[in-house]
């Protein structure tokens, strides 16, 4: 985890950059070996996560900073997936508050987190020690199930299951 990321993007919390970052994530995911369909899903999930930081973390201020880091996961020398980390310096919320909504309940809102969990194998929201939030997502090659793993612990040790 202390190795440098394969690729990292630092952006201001300006929605104008979402589309470019989405395409970067999409193309890079393809290049390293994700099938096209999975690559678009990964890009969509990252897009939603970044939009959430802009909207909920920075309350739509455009001068906040966001860090996106992508690490290759290699197993037995072969590419096996991505670990994607998004950090901000915005408002801290209790990770248990970040929940996807029940789909039976048809109403707007809560779709972003739902999509992130559908796409990723692991989704972990944490408060950063200092300020802001950290979202760690793992997407394994070939997996197409929704996130099941552990979820939502914060650095202070509290935890929950989404």
């Amino acid at each position: 985890m202390n190795a440098p990321p394969d690729i990292a993007v630092e952006l201001s919390s300006n929605p104008a950059y979402l589309c470019g970052v989405r395409e970067l994530v999409n193309l890079i995911s393809r290049r390293v070996g994700f099938p096209d369909g999975q690559a678009s899903k990964i890009a969509l999930a990252v897009d939603e996560a970044l939009a959430n930081v802009m909207n909920h973390g920075y309350l739509r201020r455009t001068d906040g900073r966001i860090w996106l880091r992508i690490y290759r996961i290699d197993a037995q020398g072969a590419f096996s997936g991505f670990r994607i980390i998004i950090e901000d310096e915005g408002r801290q919320v209790d990770p248990s508050q970040i929940k996807s909504r029940d789909l039976a309940d048809i109403r707007p809102g809560g779709l972003g987190v739902h999509i992130i969990r559908e796409v990723m194998d692991t989704v972990l929201y944490e408060k950063r020690e200092s300020t802001g939030m950290r979202l760690t997502m793992v997407k394994l090659l070939g997996s197409d199930a929704r996130a099941t793993g552990s979820c939502c612990t914060d650095s202070s040790g509290g935890g929950c299951r989404g």
């Binding site: 929605p15 979402l18 989405r22 969509l44 939603e48 048809i106 109403r107 779709l111 739902h114 999509i115």
Partner: protein, 117 residues
């Protein structure tokens, strides 16, 4: 109040149906414009409302949420809502969100306007 993004939403009337056709990327900034166009279209009490998504290049969840809201208005006002002409990319977003079963989705505008849809 959400600022409005630079999105064009074409609204037409075809045989008593209102056809609302947004163009481009429908994200956080653009969704309010689509939302307003949909609300105004419902207000004119059409026989049905067709959201023609053929011009949508990308749909993020605020766009989805706007369509979910339109579905609620549709149920409340008993005005059928039909989505049509979703690109592969847009359809994928509906599928990931598991919303493709909740909406009536037609292949193209023609079938969206036909009474069977």
């Amino acid at each position: 109040m959400a600022e409005k993004g630079p999105i064009v939403v074409n609204v037409r009337q075809i045989d008593g149906a209102a056809v609302v056709a947004p163009e481009g990327e429908v994200g956080y900034h653009e969704a309010p414009t689509l939302r307003q166009a949909l609300r105004e279209a419902f207000d004119r009490k059409p026989a049905r409302l067709v959201a023609d998504l053929s011009g949508v290049t990308y749909m993020a969840t605020p766009g989805l949420a706007t369509l979910v809201e339109a579905l609620q208005i549709s149920k409340r006002t008993q005005t059928p809502l039909v989505l049509c002409a979703l690109s592969g990319r847009v359809r994928a977003v509906f599928e990931i969100a598991r919303l493709h079963t909740v909406f009536t989705i037609a292949e193209d505008l023609q079938s969206a306007l036909s009474p069977k849809a």
